[in-house]
């Protein structure tokens, strides 16, 4: 990665009032996801009602920000042209300690990443927006 991600011209989240707390928390440096008060399960991505039990009982909670890299890809030919300047870069599937998996941008060198790597939450400016990314956990 040779460019500052903040300078990329790339599409941002299509947030709405339901999902905004997730993105706003990331901007403030916190990872917040929903948890169901009826069945106690964590939920990602945000929903209006719980996808596990269909109860109208979701509330926002702060997650630990810890996770594990379930898989990754080094992107050489991005699907969106705005990302070409950042190649090669790494995206990955992050299994959060709370259970759900999210896709994110992984702040590692393309030649130094492996499935199973422990990760921690790292808010990062991508294209002028602070997004919830992940970096390798300091050991």
């Amino acid at each position: 990665m040779t460019v500052d991600l903040a300078n990329l011209s790339v599409p941002g989240p299509t947030a709405n009032s339901l999902t905004a707390p997730f993105w706003q928390a990331a901007e403030a440096g916190r990872l917040m996801i929903q948890r169901c008060c009826a069945c106690d399960k964590w939920v990602f991505y945000p929903r209006a009602i719980c996808p596990h039990c269909w109860a109208d009982a979701l509330e926002w909670q702060t997650a630990s920000g810890k996770g594990r890299l379930k898989s990754f890809s080094v992107i050489w030919k991005p699907g969106h042209p705005g990302w070409i300047a950042a190649t090669p870069y790494v995206v990955g599937l992050v299994e959060l300690a709370e259970g759900p998996t999210m896709l994110s941008h992984i702040l590692v060198q393309a030649n130094d990443v492996a499935v199973g790597d422990p990760l921690s939450f790292a808010s990062t400016n991508i294209g002028g927006r602070i997004l919830p990314c992940f970096a390798r956990e300091a050991t």
Binding site: N16, C50, W54, G79, L93
Partner: protein, 387 residues
């Protein structure tokens, strides 16, 4: 009173209060709320529902609508479809639900329609969760999703890059037997495939289908009527469907997909085992898709696809169980959504005995697989001919 319809009934209903505008909510929210109400009315839990019929969602989810809705709902249906008949969509769903139940594909079908309304919002495509939660991180398009699936498979089982590349090489070899294939006259060996540019690691360019223009069509009728036609009828002996998610991050497994239960259901209906199948017509958007399908079909243990392929004698018409004799989409080209139908058409040719230059000897049965989105929408068919 006797009637010709299957015995089905409506057991639950839900309805939302109409609103002039619905600021901040999307169509998915409304669909899930009204569905939860219908489930409560019927005394059902979400897990009791195994079929899903939805309407089109212009401006929010242009494609993969049933998978996107099912994922949002936390459902993994065994029958999922869009009914796109304007004002007749609702009634159209009811008999389709009955037909799916009568066909043994599901027991309880949720039929749901709805829409949000925000007059100031631009009706741009793609405002669904995959767009909101994947694209901003630099992940867009199918290549990234299948690269993530392939990396997970590699890490779990230690398969080599050459193991997967042999699938693209086998497809190219079969394309040499099909003058219609885009890569006819252009074979590629494992070395050449691995030397092609990396697109999204570990996927090389030649492990990815080439988009082409094209078209495929199939006529389905009764066996009686087909017997009066010019060709040997190719019968549908079994079918299976399963939808598990839409975005790759929501996949219940990265190394095994919904084709596993879909194939099992199709074989069960056909009263055959996978070893009985003469021809494997397997959806192959990427090399990893064929690898995962060989394993999900039960042809070998997870992680053993490469050894199995070698023991199978490759993929050609002389192999023990030939695979994708038309070249697959990796060798034939992918004419967009018609690409999946090429696997049906080739199976029909093989079962009729009309696959000139690549005919399999004594081909009496075929397994056809279809796959959509991120190894998340699966259909399996068992086709066969009478001896």
């Amino acid at each position: 009173m006797r009637h010709l319809m299957p015995n089905v009934a409506i057991s639950g209903i839900g309805e939302l209060k109409p609103q002039r505008r619905t600021d901040g909510v999307n169509t998915m929210d409304l669909l899930l709320r009204v569905s939860a109400e219908a489930a409560r009315d019927a005394g059902l839990r979400p897990s009791d529902i195994d079929g899903l019929l939805v309407g089109p969602q212009v401006g929010e989810t242009p494609q993969h609508v049933p998978a996107a809705v099912a994922e949002y709902f936390g459902m993994q249906p065994t029958m999922a479809n869009v009914v796109d008949l304007g004002g007749a969509s609702g009634p159209g769903m009811i008999w389709r639900a009955a037909a799916a139940i009568a066909a043994g594909q599901c027991e309880t079908v949720l039929c749901v329609l709805g829409n949000h309304r925000n007059p100031t919002e631009p009706r741009s495509p793609n405002r669904n969760p995959a767009r909101e939660f994947d694209t901003p991180f630099g992940a867009s398009g199918a290549n990234t999703s299948y690269a993530l699936l392939m990396q997970a498979h590699m890490a779990a089982y230690g398969c080599s890059a050459a193991d997967y590349a042999q699938i693209a090489a086998g497809a190219r070899a079969n394309a040499q037997l099909n003058p219609m294939a885009i890569f006819h006259g252009k074979p590629a060996d494992i070395e050449e495939i691995l030397a092609s540019p990396m697109v999204a690691s570990p996927l090389h360019l030649l492990e990815i289908v080439m988009p082409v223009a094209g078209g495929e069509a199939v006529i389905v009728t009764t066996v009686d009527r087909a017997l009066r036609g010019p060709h040997r009828p190719v019968e549908l002996w079994g079918a299976g469907e399963k939808v598990t998610h839409r975005a790759v991050s929501q996949a219940p497994s990265l190394t095994s997909g919904p084709l596993k239960p879909a194939i099992a259901r199709a074989l069960g209906q056909a009263q055959l085992t996978i070893r009985d199948i003469d021809f494997l017509s397997l959806y192959d958007c990427y090399t990893i898709m064929v690898a995962a399908t060989i394993e999900d079909a039960g042809l070998c243990a997870p992680g053993q696809f490469a050894n199995w392929l070698r023991e199978n004698g490759g993929m050609g018409p002389e192999a023990r169980q030939p695979i994708n004799t038309h070249g697959g989409q990796l060798g034939f080209g992918q004419p967009d959504l018609a690409g999946g139908m090429t696997h049906v058409v080739e199976a029909v040719r093989q079962l009729r005995g009309q696959a000139a230059g690549r005919q399999i000897r004594n081909c009496m049965s075929a397994l056809v697989t279809g796959n959509g989105a991120t190894m998340s929408e699966a259909v399996a068919l068992v086709l066969g001919v009478q001896a």
